[in-house]
């Protein structure tokens, strides 16, 4: 189904190629759309599902925790070097292709050899590849379209990625139940093939290498310290990074904690409700993202960021009081609002801030690391709070952190939209 849609889409698109110099052909645009879609498909198989899979492979909880902690730390630390690397690489397509092959390879390795050294290696490879993939896709997007179109372009990226995530979650949930947990990883690896096909449709000549790293045609500095210069003393970037730490500190554990409450309260519908809690916000992200990208050009970035952070705080506050599992799913839709805002604004704001520095991807790595630190601490914090004081207090604390983040955005974050030329 997805494969047929993909091929039809690209053919129909390539039928009416526009040959204007600054605007990319619709073949490249469609290729980027579907690259986002299929990479999201591949990535959905990773994440919390790994621990379910390893449990079926008779792994102890200690080993599972160790592998996830080590690979999580690796993926956190790898973002900045990967961003620097993507800035330096001439071909962003090559970076994306290497990452796609590596992610598929690690999925296959997980399926084939669920033994400790192999799983650890596969998880590290997946972490490194993901670090490379995120900036590579952002760089291709930035290099492909003009400055005025970038908001909408990033919105489309988020739309296709979230459709991919939602569909893959449903498909892999069914696959895990009906076939086997191992088959989920084979399925994930298989999605890399259409991802590479989509990548081929993006014409390399249409990716402006200077714009793709957000910069000027300057000579690349040699040392890492020199490359990070202009990032560490970039005040708006550091403020934005701080806001993202708070966002992910509040956001990271909210869904898992809420899903755990649903498991506790609901009867036989718990699994379906949790699936809905994962998939429904993805659909909302798909609907909202391009619109948010366009509004970011009209209204500016600041108001949308405030709305996104406020939606997270409101969601946390509702989870304190709401008891009905069905109402919880409705409140969970707010996740779609904040996810759409952050999904579009993160690369957009970073591209605004790093304009003319040539360090877009390195800066993306810096804020990505900030977010990952917040998300990692979130699980620990919420687990501690809910174990010792109950889930309402954990939600109250997460909502408070989100509110602090909203205030920080409102009070400190400058408007980064470039002034019209």
């Amino acid at each position: 189904m997805w494969w047929g849609t993909h091929r039809r889409g690209v053919r129909a698109a390539s039928g009416k190629v526009v040959e204007r110099a600054p605007a990319p052909a619709s073949s490249s645009r469609a290729g980027l759309d579907w690259l986002n879609f299929f990479i999201a498909n591949v990535q959905t198989g990773f994440g919390p599902f790994i621990s379910v899979y390893l449990t079926t492979q008779q792994w102890t909880q200690v080993d599972i925790g160790l592998v996830l902690t080590v690979s999580g730390a690796f993926a956190l630390l790898g973002q900045i070097p990967a961003g620097v690397l993507v800035d330096a690489m001439a071909s962003k397509r090559l970076a994306a292709a290497i990452a796609a092959v590596a992610i598929a390879g690690s999925a296959l390795a997980l399926a084939a050899w669920p033994i400790f050294p192999m799983v650890l290696l596969a998880e590290l490879l997946h972490g490194a590849a993901s670090c490379l993939m995120t900036p590579a896709i952002a760089a291709i997007s930035l290099g492909l379209v003009s400055r005025t179109e970038i908001g909408e372009r990033l919105g489309r990226n988020a739309r296709f990625a979230s459709i991919g995530n939602g569909l893959a979650a449903a498909l892999m949930g069914a696959c895990g139940r009906l076939v086997s947990t191992r088959a989920v990883f084979v399925l994930a690896a298989a999605f890399a093939i259409p991802a590479l096909a989509a990548l081929r449709h993006i014409k390399p000549a249409e990716i402006d290498p200077v714009r793709a790293r957000g910069g000027t045609p300057e000579v690349h500095p040699r040392t890492l310290a020199a490359r990070l210069h202009g990032i560490t003393d970039n005040k708006p970037l550091l403020i934005f990074g701080g806001c993202l730490v708070l966002f992910h500190l509040a956001n990271g554990a909210m869904l898992p904690l809420m899903a755990s409450v649903v498991t506790m309260r609901s009867r036989e519908w718990a699994t379906v409700l949790i699936a809905a809690c994962i998939v429904a916000p993805q659909l909302l992200v798909a609907v909202l993202s391009p619109w948010i990208g366009r509004q970011a050009e009209k209204w500016g970035r600041w108001p949308l960021l405030v709305v996104g952070f406020a939606a997270l705080a409101i969601r946390g506050a509702f989870f304190i009081f709401v008891a009905s599992p069905y109402l919880l799913v409705a409140v969970q839709l707010l996740d779609g609002v904040s996810a759409a805002v952050i999904g579009v604004m993160l690369p957009l704001v970073v591209s605004d801030i790093t304009r003319g520095t040539g360090r877009f991807n390195a800066a993306l790595g810096v804020v990505g690391t900030a977010g990952a630190i917040g998300a990692t601490l979130s699980t620990t914090l919420a687990g501690y709070l809910s174990d010792d004081f109950g889930s309402p207090l954990a939600f109250a604390c997460l909502a408070g952190i989100a509110a602090a983040g909203a205030l920080m955005v409102a009070g400190l974050m400058p408007e980064t939209r470039p002034t019209r030329d």
Partner: protein, 194 residues
């Protein structure tokens, strides 16, 4: 931490419960570890004492009592048919009516080494929202000949869903087949399922 210092009746195979959780509170971890080590010490002392008494065979099992074995003694070997014994980690658990009850992720034993409870990872979707719950070992039924990959639990989803989460720093609350909650540390107040 008072609860951990008292008579710890249980210690847990694999010192379970995610390494990630271990990051929580350093001081508490140290105290818990000390208590746990003490408990292990007691448990080993208890299990070693009777081991030397019955003069069953010349051979001894490899393990903590290695020092008492003269070097060069071959270990005993008992052969079980695959239809007679089975590993339990990662096994699918179903209720009597065939509901999906999750998977066995750990086994809780008492100081004599007898299994008292199985920890099942229950519920959730794609790994999100699952809860670890300890269920009475006697509520589990293993059927090796029929379906070797499945274990039957004489509890329903409805009975298990509200059980308190199993964790390393908490008293182990084991869910029994009658649906009531028996705290296995008598000095504590019984934890109430919501």
């Amino acid at each position: 931490m008072n609860r951990a210092n008292g008579a710890i009746q249980l210690w847990v195979v694999h010192a379970a419960c995610c390494v990630r959780r271990g990051f929580r509170a350093g001081a508490m971890i140290c105290a818990t570890t000390a208590a746990l080590l003490a408990a292990i010490g007691i448990a080993q002392a208890q299990s070693q004492a009777p081991q030397s008494e019955p003069p069953k065979t010349d051979t001894a099992q490899p393990g903590p009592s290695q020092t008492t074995v003269p070097p060069g003694t071959p270990p005993s070997a008992t052969v079980f048919d695959k239809s007679y014994v089975q590993g339990v980690l990662g096994k699918d658990v179903r209720s009597a009516t065939g509901e999906d009850m999750g998977r066995i992720v750990d086994v809780v034993v008492d100081s004599a080494g007898e299994p008292r409870a199985a920890v099942i990872d229950f519920g959730g979707f794609l790994g999100v929202g699952s809860r670890k719950v300890a269920v009475d070992w006697n509520a589990l039924h293993f059927s090796p000949s029929d379906k070797p990959s499945e274990v039957t639990l004489s509890l329903s989803r409805d009975q298990v869903k509200a059980a308190p989460e199993y964790g390393d720093k908490k008293p182990v609350v084991v869910l029994g087949p009658t649906g009531t909650v028996h705290p296995m540390m008598p000095q504590d107040e019984p934890a109430k399922p919501e």
